[in-house]
């Protein structure tokens, strides 16, 4: 017990004692083990992303009582345990680890672990995963979300260049009426489905909500959303564009409908489509060559490589980059990894990650490794000295 602990009032000291106890550390570690185990087993049904969203990211793990709408809190979530453990680590460090030489190693370890947790929180909050699919010869200046979709309204009146406006999926889920800034249009969201099944309308089906376009021939059945990594939601909505007090009818939009549908307002033609959410980049990537190497005499892949031309006029960059296995391109805060391919090796899919905290695990890992080496080094030296003293005493 240190001096500063005695100078604080009793109830606060009790809290201080709990927060700095090694018991709390052990409870948190054990709780984390339970969560990690649950998260691992749940991946069989939920997929990695779904399991992480259910166990590791939330503050509380909820359990949906079967055949009811009741949701019960059953266990602290990964975020809560992580936060408590982080506080515990930092405070225990303050309380027990007086700056003595033999504690230097442990202090480094604990400092590193705190940085680890901070880094994981930053990743959880700020990391954005997108992808960039590019065919040989094609130039692409946007990345797309692998999961989220958006309603795009594209002004195609100018043959030279399109103007694209995107309304993210979450906005459609929340809002009834959305004004599309930059256009005279307002979008009324009649109905939104996170996941649905679309079938050709049979004569016996109830009339479609759509009054115009391909949607009038389609029946929509709502489905529970999927989170499995192998499945995609069929995001679907009925929307009604309104401009200058005129309604342009109710349209069905969905990410499984192929061709965009269009209408004309005051001489300008707009198309409506539900597509993966896009972010435009101030630079572009052209795929010049894609290589898919196999081991001789087998079809075991040896390497995938994309040779791309990176053009960023603003930053005066125009260079060739070879992206291959374990060799990503890091540029302007984003990292491009070779992830997949398709269309008989003419399409390359790059995974794109934006994570402002990417460096923190590296720092943390360096600190912890150094700390463990120092600590066990000191312990080993002590043990050896003891042994030497013991043998001296016995002989």
């Amino acid at each position: 017990m240190t001096e500063n602990a005695r100078s604080i009032p009793a109830p606060l000291r009790a809290v201080w004692d709990v927060l700095t106890s090694l018991k709390l550390t052990i409870v948190c570690l054990a709780g984390l083990m339970v969560l990690v185990m649950a998260c691992t087993l749940a991946q069989v049904n939920l997929g990695t992303w779904g399991a992480v969203a259910a166990y590791m990211r939330p503050w509380i793990v909820w359990w949906h009582l079967p055949a009811s709408t009741i949701v019960l809190p059953v266990f602290p979530g990964g975020a809560l345990i992580g936060a408590v453990l982080m506080v515990n680590l930092a405070l225990t460090g303050l309380r027990y680890l007086e700056p003595k030489r033999r504690k230097y190693g442990l202090m480094l370890v604990h400092a590193g672990l705190v940085i680890f947790f901070v880094g994981e929180f930053i990743s959880a909050i700020y990391q954005v995963d997108t992808r960039l699919a590019v065919e040989i010869g094609q130039t692409v200046n946007f990345v797309e979300s692998p999961r989220e979709n958006e309603l795009t309204i594209t002004d195609v009146s100018d043959p030279a260049s399109d103007e694209v406006f995107g309304l993210p999926e979450q906005l459609l889920a929340r809002a009834d009426t959305i004004a599309v800034t930059g256009t005279p249009l307002t979008i009324k969201v009649r109905r939104y489905f996170q996941n649905a099944e679309l079938t050709n309308r049979a004569p016996s089906d109830p009339p479609s909500m759509a009054t115009i376009g391909v949607g009038t021939q389609v029946t929509v059945k709502e489905l529970p959303p999927v989170s499995n990594d192998d499945h995609q939601n069929t995001v679907t909505a009925y929307v009604e564009p309104v401009a200058g007090g005129v309604s342009y009818g109710t349209w069905l939009v969905s990410n499984v409908l192929g061709s965009p549908q269009s209408f004309t307002h005051e001489g300008r033609t707009y198309t409506l489509a539900m597509k993966p959410r896009r972010w435009y980049l101030p630079y572009s990537v052209t795929l010049k060559e894609f290589r898919h190497e196999v081991y001789p005499g087998t079809d075991i892949p040896k390497n995938f490589a994309s040779l791309v031309q990176l053009r960023d006029p603003g930053a005066k960059q125009d260079r060739e980059v070879l992206i291959y296995m374990n060799q990503p391109l890091r540029y302007a805060g984003r990292t491009f990894y070779q992830a997949s391919f398709g269309k008989q090796d003419t399409l390359s899919i790059l995974q794109v990650v934006e994570n402002p905290g990417w460096l923190m695990p590296y720092i943390a890992c360096g600190l912890v490794t150094l700390g463990l080496l120092v600590h066990f080094g000191i312990a080993l030296r002590r043990a050896l000295r003891k042994r030497a003293a013991l043998t001296e005493a016995t002989t």
């Binding site: 998260c39 691992t40 990695t48 995963d129 990894y337 995974q351 463990l372 312990a379």
Partner: protein, 612 residues
């Protein structure tokens, strides 16, 4: 100086020379197993085994193909031939079995080379279950071959995870039959007049069709690259015949035709000369790729991990006996055996590293081999520090157990397979994977010492405090070692993931498994520091480490999800469950109150010591 010491100077005592005698025995054993097989009826089987082929992405001696194929169909690297009365006649070595399969399939069909022990599968085949030797010939399967195909196709359509035991066994048999059938049709089509005729009849209108069929059937490429071709341009016989039809003659093809005809015609002299020709040509056409073939042959013959397993189990048994009688002598011999086992194990690992050009751990099989190695080395160091046989016994047990596991993971054929694209990084395989696996070794070794502690408490007649203290100290040290390596390994894995997939941590099952090990070791150490667990508690926790580690090593692979699904396995679920149950039982034994112990001495690890 008295007479006794004088005598011991002149004649080293039994305790001094016995360990060296054990080492000498191991060396003699090594020399015996590495000698080449005797020529049979004058045929140079040793030379034939050294013929190189390209299979599974790398050039290897045909001896490796023979052993791996036979291991797959028969579960062992040779065929046991018996007469009709069931009396043992002789062992057929893998190379001879392969030569017959390739060149005299009608003879190979009569070898009992299919291991089948599933009652229901035998029922489908209409065969009686033979408990002593569950090996059957292809001719015994042949009458029901269409049913095997039908059942096999049905079973293979089911997801491996959802197959019943029967479906699993049926799909497996079907796969083995296909492998055997393709082998028989890899050099020449079964029932066709033979390779020599094909070489002479490339212009025959039906020949093109036969060539195409051959090229599609072949499981390996035996014809070395033709003149002026790159070293990787090996051809199978069908392709080489196609080249010949286009006017590109390949001297390797002609030699192979002579080998085939000579084996079938029982002409040893021609066979031996043609084998020498083919090997000489391969050596010229692909000098770097064929250079390792002889080394691999020695590796195949020694079976270092099998030999190591035998030595470890012998060492372990000797230590057990030593606690009853002759402690010094037997413990020294045991340590000598363990050390020779460790040397052979190490040489085996080095051979794999050289042959594959990769770090020691590349797949589940090699991880098991390496875990055992790590445990044995750390155990030897422990023995050096503490003596008294505990280090030897636990190291031998851990080494033996992990080599047994490795032995059961070999069934899928070549254990030196090519690394899929993202894993094709020697740097990360060498750092992340190796450190993680050293962490596994540590966890298992700590668990083994804790088990030894438990058993000693229950079975040893007396408990001296010093030994108890020593065992606890060893466990603590090994847990700290395991925490260090599993933490570093996990973090290195995160860095690799950041380099290749763009995220440091993705909660992938294998990553989670590694994290569980780190967390559990951290809990053990903190529980000790906080005084929450005394010796017995720490020991029980160390035993539970075995369960956590086994789950992380194999259990997560059974889920079949995630980016580390390269090591998918479905058969081992019950083994894993049984292992976990046994460990929990040992934990309960460990935690059992004092009155259940046999030993009467004071145990310093329990509150009962307060009387002291």
């Amino acid at each position: 100086m008295n007479l006794a010491t004088l005598q011991s100077k002149r004649f080293p005592t039994l305790e001094k020379w016995a360990p060296w005698a054990a080492v000498a025995a191991v060396v003699i054993g090594l020399v015996v197993v590495t000698r080449p097989p005797a020529a049979r009826e004058g045929f140079d089987l040793d030379g034939f085994g050294r013929v190189t082929i390209l299979e599974g992405g790398r050039v290897k001696p045909i001896d490796s193909l023979a052993r791996n194929s036979l291991l797959m169909t028969n579960g062992k690297q040779s065929v046991i031939l018996r007469d009709d009365a069931g009396k043992f006649v002789r062992f057929v070595p893998a190379t001879e079995w392969l030569a017959d399969t390739l060149f005299r399939p009608e003879v190979a069909d009569k070898y009992p080379a299919f291991y089948i022990d599933d009652e229901d599968v035998l029922g489908v085949l209409g065969l009686a279950h033979n408990k002593d030797r569950a090996a059957y010939t292809f001719n015994q399967i042949l009458p029901r071959i269409q049913e095997v195909e039908r059942q096999g196709e049905m079973a293979q359509a089911v997801d491996p995870k959802a197959r019943t035991r029967f479906q699993g066994a049926m799909a497996n048999l079907y796969q083995r039959v296909i492998t055997y059938y393709r082998l028989k049709n890899s050099v020449q089509l079964e029932g066709a007049p033979g390779l020599a005729m094909e070489v002479g009849a490339t212009a025959d209108p039906m020949a093109a069709q036969r060539r195409q069929r051959l090229a599609g059937m072949a499981t390996f490429r035996i014809v070395p690259p033709g003149p002026g071709k790159p070293e990787t341009a090996w051809r199978n016989t069908g392709e080489a015949l196609g080249d010949a039809a286009m006017g590109q003659q390949n001297p390797g093809l002609a030699s192979l035709a002579r080998i085939s005809a000579a084996w079938a015609g029982r002409d040893a002299a021609t066979f031996n000369a043609a084998v020498a020709d083919l090997r000489a040509f391969a050596g010229q056409a692909a000098p770097t790729a064929t250079g390792q073939a002889d080394h691999e042959i020695i590796f195949n013959r020694v079976e270092p991990f099998y030999l190591g397993m035998i030595l470890y189990v012998a060492a372990m048994l000797l230590v057990f006996v030593s606690w009853l009688a002759q402690p010094v002598l037997l413990q020294r011999v045991a340590t000598a055996l363990l050390a020779s086992g460790a040397v052979i194990h190490t040489l085996g690992l080095l051979s794999r590293i050289i042959l594959q050009g990769r770090p020691p751990v590349t797949n589940l099989y090699s991880s098991a081999v390496f875990v055992g190695w790590g445990a044995v080395i750390v155990g030897l160091i422990m023995e050096r520090m503490y003596r008294r046989g505990w280090g030897t016994a636990t190291a031998a047990a851990a080494g033996f157990a992990s080599l047994i596991v490795a032995h059961h993971l070999t069934g899928d054929g070549d254990t030196m397979e090519m690394m899929r694209a993202v894993l094709d990084s020697n740097f990360w395989l060498g750092t992340h994977v190796v450190t993680i696996v050293i962490g596994y070794s540590g966890v298992f070794l700590a668990g083994a010492i804790a088990i030894a502690y438990t058993l000693r408490k229950h079975f040893a007649p007396t408990l001296d405090e010093a030994t108890t203290k020593m065992l606890v100290g060893m466990t603590y040290g090994v847990v700290a070692f395991a925490l260090f390596f599993s933490f570093i390994g996990t973090v290195l894995g995160g860095i690799w993931a950041d380099q290749s997939w763009g995220r440091f941590w993705g909660w992938d099952p294998k990553e989670n498994g590694a994290l569980l090990i780190v967390l559990w070791n951290a809990i053990i150490l903190h529980a000790r520091w906080a005084g929450l667990a005394r010796d017995r508690g720490i020991m029980a926790m160390a035993i539970f480490g075995n369960v956590i580690c086994a789950f992380s090593w194999f259990g997560v692979n059974m889920l079949g999800v995630g980016l580390h699904a390269y090591g998918f396995m479905d058969k081992a679920f019950w083994s894993l469950a049984a292992f976990s149950a046994s460990q929990v039982a040992l934990m309960l034994l460990c935690l059992a109150p004092r009155k259940f112990w046999r030993g009467s001495g004071a145990d310093p690890g329990t509150p009962a010591r307060a009387k002291a």
